[in-house]
């Protein structure tokens, strides 16, 4: 046989093989129904109707069994499909009535952990008071995700690129956690995040409520800005800013910032609090120069990783730009102008 002919045979073998592989792939795709739940390991399902029932359910599950709570499931279900999480018990909190709804009275906004994103977006009383929450939530996922995803689920997931987490850091939210032993803990949101997808929640602890403080004695404004590659993508960078100004002028002609919150998304291994920037803001009136310095401090404090959304230097630069824009927008929303 000639060399050319041998090559041709070899070539057609390769092609045949490719076709075989392609056909095998196609035959898998021809039954997509089996694909969705194929990777999901078997689990037992419980849906307690109240926190009391939840306690009973948890007590009935052997200690060695892995338990996972499901809230909106917008992150958990895709993770389960990938086979990355395979609990033996899945406890659905969607029927747990004590965890739903929100109240806005006195000195705080209290949101049940099972309140959905869309519940908050549709509550004009909340979005008027906290424009940063509207900015933030309206940019999470897409409409279908916002109809299902929950406030508590987003926080408990502990995703460093979770928009809501950094917005809540800026707002100075406090989280209420029902520990397995029955005690109730209150912790500031920034202390809740312990590392990459890790929080201070034990496997059987439940996040029950998020409390956002309200201070009517102060003038306030806030915003959340997000840079995304495509609609509905995770943040390349995200910056939440909440500013509180003195309501009454004290002698001088500019209102000073009394309290400041900065939360940063995709800025490191966990949702980050921009402490350096916050420190610079408190006590000064808003000005172009101050905001320039603050945004540089913010960028310095971040430690984003280089990935498909951009390299580290680019992201740090974007944190600087977005922090400044968010500071300006928050000031304007308080009805003030830069000095």
């Amino acid at each position: 046989m000639t060399r050319a002919r041998l090559d041709r045979i070899e070539f057609s073998k390769v092609i045949l093989n490719r076709i075989k592989v392609a056909m095998r792939d196609m035959s898998v795709r021809a039954f997509p129904a089996s694909m969705g739940s194929a990777e999901i390991a078997d689990f037992q399902y419980r849906a307690p109707a109240s926190l009391n029932e939840l306690r009973r359910v948890l007590r009935s599950i052997p200690r060695r069994s892995e338990v996972k709570f499901i809230a909106g499931g917008m992150s958990l279900i895709p993770t389960m499909k990938l086979g990355l999480v395979s609990p033996s018990f899945l406890i659905d909190l969607n029927q747990t009535k004590d965890l739903k709804g929100w109240t806005l009275e006195g000195r705080s906004l209290r949101v049940g952990s099972m309140a959905r994103y869309s519940d908050i977006l549709e509550a004009k009383r909340i979005t008027r008071l906290f424009p940063e929450l509207e900015d933030c939530i309206s940019q999470i996922g897409d409409m279908q995700v916002r109809n299902r995803g929950t406030i508590g689920g987003a926080l408990a997931h502990g995703d460093p690129s979770g928009d809501l987490s950094s917005c809540m850091i800026a707002l100075g939210a406090v989280l209420k956690i029902k520990r397995e032993k029955g005690s109730l803990d209150k912790i500031p949101v920034e202390e809740f995040f312990k590392g990459f997808f890790s929080t201070s929640l034990g496997a059987r602890d439940v996040l029950t409520e998020v409390e956002v403080p309200l201070d009517s004695k102060l003038l306030r404004g806030g915003s959340y800005l997000k840079l995304e590659r495509t609609a509905g993508d995770f943040a390349t960078v995200g910056v939440g800013v909440s500013l509180w100004f003195e309501k009454r002028l004290t002698g001088t002609n500019a209102r000073r910032i009394v309290r400041a919150g900065i939360g940063l998304t995709s800025a490191g291994d966990r949702p980050l609090k921009g402490r350096r920037g916050e420190k610079l803001l408190v006590g000064s009136p808003p000005s172009e120069e101050l905001f320039g310095n603050v945004s540089s401090a913010v960028a310095e404090e971040t430690d984003p990783s280089s990935d498909v959304r951009g390299d580290k230097e680019f992201k740090k630069q974007m944190f600087r730009v977005f922090a400044k824009r968010a500071l300006i927008r928050s000031t304007e929303r308080a009805g003030l102008r830069l000095g």
């Binding site: 969705g36 739940s37 999901i40 499909k81 897409d142 279908q144 299902r148 509905g232």
Partner: protein, 184 residues
């Protein structure tokens, strides 16, 4: 003896089944359905494979494309909301109402939303269409009169790989101007 053994096997099989199966009821397109299956079955698979509503399309199965969008109304909520059925376990819909694209037409008469999609050419190959129609109706349930910007923003969770977006957007604008709702 033999019989006793068999009944024991049956009993243990039954116990096994009760541990791994969930029984529940839900209403799909107005019909009460009582089901019993593994809790890991996704709503999309349940609707397509168990109940035969193949208008629920599987595109990405990773909650990106929106082809599997259906409307759901849970016992504790007043309104129908669009959700991606591939990202929900079917058992979670216990007691819920679910509407798929099959629930829209009355016999051979298309619903108004479906007609508008034809009039405005809001499709090319049609694979994404059920998802877009359900998402569009879901949007109108929330917001009777959305601006073009709001339509684009709220439908960003649905992908059309033919690129019929302009037709889709004008279809939903038209539906809004006619006051189309799920009941029409």
């Amino acid at each position: 003896m033999m019989l006793l053994k068999q009944s024991r096997i049956k009993k243990s099989a039954k116990r096994q089944k009760s541990l791994t199966e969930s029984s529940y009821g839900l209403v799909v397109n107005g019909l009460q359905r009582n089901l019993s299956h593994s809790p890991k079955l996704l709503l999309s698979d349940c609707l397509r494979d168990l109940l035969g509503y193949t208008g629920v399309k599987m595109g990405c199965e990773t909650s990106n494309c929106g082809a599997c969008t259906v409307l759901t109304k849970f016992p504790d909520s007043k309104d129908y909301r669009a959700v991606k059925s591939c990202s929900l376990f079917a058992v979670q819909c216990s007691g819920a109402q679910v509407v798929t694209v099959e629930g829209l037409a009355k016999g051979n008469d298309l619903s108004r939303m479906q007609e508008i999609f034809l009039e405005e050419r809001g499709l090319q190959c049609g694979y994404c269409t059920p998802g877009f129609i359900m998402a569009g109706l879901g949007l109108l349930e929330k917001n009777r009169n959305p601006s073009e910007g709001e339509i684009r923003h709220e439908l960003s969770g649905n992908l059309c790989r033919c690129g019929a977006y302009m037709g889709i957007i004008s279809a939903i604008k038209k539906a809004a101007s006619e006051g189309v709702s799920l009941q029409m």
